[in-house]
């Protein structure tokens, strides 16, 4: 069999597949209306301070600190707890000397990712094929 041809075929499939992922596989984001200018600034800070080296979003990131996807609703939407951590740090979490605006921005970002989805899923069913279906019950 012609190897160039197989490669070419796979490559074309890969391009089609990639564009499907970009444009139709990932359109879902129910938190999008919460992604305000402030939250965008928060995202930028989250990256610049390398929060992901210790924290996870959707289980992806470092393991020194807790998972942050739903940390706001986990604390019953009481953002003052997150604020306190950001303000003072802890023995393990550094104090980044953030000013109030920066903390506001980070909180907005955390609220946005909280609205965007659930992790880990609260209710799910496991099918005999080994797949998992999330059962979305709560509307945050």
């Amino acid at each position: 069999m012609n190897k160039q041809l197989i490669f070419f075929f796979l490559f074309v499939l890969f391009i089609i597949y990639s564009f499907s992922v970009y444009f139709s596989g990932t359109t879902y984001d129910k938190g999008i209306s919460h992604f305000t200018t402030e939250a965008k600034l928060g995202k930028k800070l989250f990256q610049e301070k390398n929060c992901i080296s210790c924290h996870q979003i959707y289980g992806l990131g470092g393991y020194m600190g807790p998972e942050l996807t739903n940390i706001i609703s986990y604390r019953d939407n009481d953002e003052s707890i997150a604020r306190a951590f950001l303000k003072g740090g802890t023995a393990k979490m550094p104090n980044f000397q953030l000013n109030d605006e920066e903390i506001d921005a980070l909180i907005s970002y955390l609220k946005y990712i909280d609205k965007a989805g659930n992790y880990p899923p609260k209710a799910y069913e496991i099918t005999p094929y080994g797949t998992v279906n999330e059962i979305v019950t709560d509307e945050k």
Binding site: F35, I52, Q56, I57, Y58, G59, L60, P120, T131
Partner: protein, 438 residues
């Protein structure tokens, strides 16, 4: 020997690995003792460790390719000036990345945690490498052995997926967390797949050289396995993001593709007898010892990878240390063992005496056994974290408390692994430097 192009890459790779492992060991202890080594806090030590050890994989794989093409494939390099330029850009970018971490300037994307501007020289250096490689290998007449295909694929796909990993800079991608995370991990999966192409290609090349059997890299089976690997590189990444709310078809498709790797597992088991007789035949060759370790690690990590690609298992293992076991097991046990095989192959071929002192053998054993303890500790920690996160109401701090025995054993195994690898690297470095002077 003096003018060999690949050497600077190999030597820089050894130094990067040594330093990267040292910082990794520090970081492991920062997990257990919060204020340990405050000079380099965890949010700086982690990216330093990752970037240094990843650069070892690239440096050693690239150095090997630059060395093997003219010497063994009878393909003189298209341009040695491009090789020099590649090396200079690589090292300068590496130093800039290290400086940015030390200054606390981050881009904050996992694994490539440097400011995105530094991606520009990385992309440029990769273009230089690609031009040089393709201008060199297109002169070859006749059928390409599979390792040339793999090296070519690794180069092309690193380039594509590195660009893809930077798509988040465009608002369409960056302004939707579901899209951003999904595409980030789509790109990362394929990036790792592309360096695996460089490394596995090197392994097949070495096997051909050691066994002196040139049909190996031209058999139908080897091309079949290459295409299977390529398919997984392209479509099999989504186990990282099974739990991100993207479209379900992405998950189902990736799940199906990942399971095709069962074929590789079956083949390893099927072939074990001939693998054993190979082991007896070639065990005198120092490079083969490393290849043999890598084969054992392929077996173990493949089982783990297959398991965590099943969504129902992934649900509990995702976001736990089992993922770390998988990545460390593959990068150390598989990638690094193959690259060490490549280093020692080059050393052995240029030395009159057989390489394989008792010190080196002790280093190999120490590294592999401590890696096993290290790997099992991570799996233990991950198992506990997964079950406790789902099956109990413990807080994060309480769970971390329960994990600490595993993390301590991980840290201690890490020190032993570091020592074992240092012995190996030291032997390699002194031999390489001696060869350079010849």
């Amino acid at each position: 020997m003096k003018n060999n192009q690949g050497f600077p890459f190999l030597i820089a790779g050894i130094l990067a690995l040594g330093l990267g492992m040292f910082i990794g060991t520090l970081a492991a202890f920062q997990f257990i003792i919060p204020d340990f080594f405050e000079l380099l806090p965890f949010f700086k030590s982690r990216p330093l460790h990752v970037s240094l050890v990843v650069s070892w994989i690239f440096l050693c794989a690239i150095g090997g390719i630059y060395y093997y093409l003219p010497t063994y494939c009878r393909l003189p390099l298209f341009s040695s000036r491009l090789v020099k330029a590649h090396f200079i850009i690589f090292i300068a970018t590496g130093l800039a990345i290290i400086t940015s971490y030390l200054l606390g300037k981050f881009g904050g994307r996992e694994y490539w945690e440097f400011p995105p501007i530094l991606s520009i020289p990385i992309i440029i250096s990769w273009v230089l490498f690609g031009v040089n490689f393709f201008k060199t290998v297109f002169r070859k007449k006749g059928k390409w052995p599979v390792y040339l295909w793999m090296w070519a694929t690794g180069i092309v796909f690193f380039f594509i997926t590195y660009l893809e990993a930077n798509l988040w800079l465009i608002p369409f991608f960056g302004d939707n967390i579901v899209r951003e995370i999904t595409i980030q991990w789509k790109a990362y999966g394929a990036l790792v797949g592309s360096w695996n192409m460089l490394v596995y290609g090197t392994a097949i090349f070495l096997m051909e050289m050691i066994s002196k059997n040139s049909s190996l890299a031209k058999s139908n089976m080897s091309y079949f396995l290459y295409f299977l690997g390529l398919t997984n590189l392209m479509f099999g990444w989504a186990h990282h993001t099974y739990l991100v709310p993207s479209a379900p078809w992405i998950r189902y498709f990736a799940y199906g593709i990942s399971m095709t790797e069962l074929f590789i597992l079956a083949k390893i088991i099927w072939d074990w007898k001939s693998s054993l007789s190979n082991a007896l035949k070639f065990k005198h060759h120092i490079a083969y010892k490393f290849l043999l370790s890598s084969e054992i690690w392929i077996f173990l990590n493949l089982i783990l990878a297959l398991l965590i690609s099943i969504p129902a298992i992934n649900l509990f293992t995702h976001g736990t240390h089992i993922t770390v076991a998988h990545s460390m097991g593959s990068t150390i046990g598989i990638n690094s063992m193959i690259l060490l095989a490549s280093l020692f192959f080059i050393i052995q071929e240029n030395s009159e005496k057989a390489i394989g002192s008792n010190v080196l053998k002790t280093g190999i054993w120490l590294a592999n056994i401590s890696l096993l303890v290290f790997w099992i500790s991570l799996i233990g920690a991950g198992y506990l974290k997964g079950t406790l996160s789902f099956g109990s109401d413990l807080t994060f701090q309480e769970i971390m408390e329960k994990l600490s025995p595993y993390l301590i054993s991980f840290g201690i195994a890490g020190i032993c692994l570091f020592i074992g690898m240092c012995v190996i690297l030291w032997v390699a470095l002194t031999h390489l430097l001696a060869l350079r002077k010849k």
